[in-house]
Symmetry: C2
Subunit: 309 residues, 2 copies
Amino acid sequence: MAAMATLALHADDLILFAHIADAGSLTRASDRTGLPKATLSRRLTALENRCGERLLQRSTRRMVLTAFGEQMLEHARRLSEEAGAAAAFAQHRQRTPRGSLRVALPPEFAELSLALAVTRFHARYPDVRLELDLSARRVDLVAERFDLAVRVATRLPDDGTLVARRITTSSGGLYANRNYLRRYGTPRTPDDLIRHVGLALVIGAGERQKWLLSRRGERWEGLPDRVLVANSLGLLHALGVRGLGIVALTERFTRGLANRGELERVLPDWNLPPITLWCVTAGRRLLSPQTHAFIEILRATLADDTSRR
Amino acid sequence: MAAMATLALHADDLILFAHIADAGSLTRASDRTGLPKATLSRRLTALENRCGERLLQRSTRRMVLTAFGEQMLEHARRLSEEAGAAAAFAQHRQRTPRGSLRVALPPEFAELSLALAVTRFHARYPDVRLELDLSARRVDLVAERFDLAVRVATRLPDDGTLVARRITTSSGGLYANRNYLRRYGTPRTPDDLIRHVGLALVIGAGERQKWLLSRRGERWEGLPDRVLVANSLGLLHALGVRGLGIVALTERFTRGLANRGELERVLPDWNLPPITLWCVTAGRRLLSPQTHAFIEILRATLADDTSRR
DNA sequence: CCTCACAATTTCATTTCTGCAACAATGGCG
DNA sequence: CGCCATTGTTGCAGAAATGAAATTGTGAGG
């Protein structure tokens, strides 16, 4: 019970030994593995020293397995095989997205072009099991093992270890149904907005955020007297189309979604602060291939929308 | 078919990963493995870099397996298990001789104390399959995978890479049955030997070797006129006991083997050159435990004989 | 909300390992 | 029997890994 000093053999050296034994000589093994024969020689003798016994009885011409080496070779081969399987697995995974992809989406934006991106992703990689989680709460990427979270914000959400990539930025504007405008009048200045009905997006138990309008350095901040808040842009858009009031939308939204002339830009000179779509991941590099693919499709899809549609 | 660059993951790192994942934190893994956590951290990130994807999503407080890591852990665990088995095998083997032991013995001496040594070895290590090869030819240790060869010679047989260990040295003398001496006379000087019958050991197609007698600096060289040669000391001994002539034996032989007064020393002042028993192995260190044990028993047995019997 | 304790990472000097090239050694060939 | 092609080993300079301590970062509790 004295020496429980586990005798840690280096698995790599065992695998090397398997290669050498299979090759039949250090030189051939050197050619196959790409390692210089000096290294092979030294690693092999080191392994033998750790084992306390020779594995290969070798001279410059011959290379004969010891009885011990023969038995050890069984282990070494299994080890080598398993290591190869692991490497192949890693390699294959890197090449072809597979498995599952957990994405957290903001429900208030899910109906946006995200739907198109998801559709494209699924068409392109049908083997990947998509798990889309539309939850209002700010999910914990690590704890809940999300690969990716899509966030929408004006500024970059600096969450410490989390890394955000900008997908696309879209400036916002105010829109209203033209029937609504005809009935209640079209605002000419921001101050005119006060008398109108505002359809505002509020996420969570948010405080009522003001609209921040800007025009070539000019700024205006305020909100209509009557406000209808909801936590779904899709709903607000629908309400705007139905003529309930003036709604703040991004340009992308008005184009990407069905906007068959129902909405008209209000105060076209004045813009809302641009809204950016972010992809948030835990760590910048070493993402799963699925994640990479998803981000790429997201980016392509939205860039597509911006330029051509 | 372009990049067949096998992506050689380091098996040791994978095993380390398994340890870390099982431990649940780098610090605990550090305690278990004895490696500093700095090393664990670096090796893990290196492995992840090679894989191209994270295995463990870790912060200072939590450590969560990635989906990829979970799958990789399967491989890593198998690898770790196999490596452990290999290490255990090597360790166990070093502790307890097992398996087989191939020994080449000189047939002309096999009936000597070697028989006793072999008996003791087998009693002590019954699990070891002994393969005793009594062949007159000088065997190729490496090619025929002998663990050990016992050689008997006056001088050290320097065979290049082979290593010889001296087991014991025994001076030789001339012996004869007392009835023989009574009938044919007891030699008083070496020259008296000429008229006698010599029983001489000749190995192979050897030339007739002379007896080389020495006494305090004096030397005498010659052979009886009538000589009976054989390649077995046992046979010569038996013939000597039966009174066929004067036989050259080692002191050990006359004591170790049953010598119940049948033989008497002839010319007790004159000695034959000492004969040494050698153990020849391929390489000095890293012998199998069986080999070590056999050499040790051989040495103990023969030393035993010399001192106490 | 701020602070603290613990965990992972990084820093830097040291040790170890690598890789090229020269060396030595072995066994087949003429 | 001696030469020589081929193979395993070793020397040395440079590169990489290692280990102890400082640093950074995280999450729970006051």
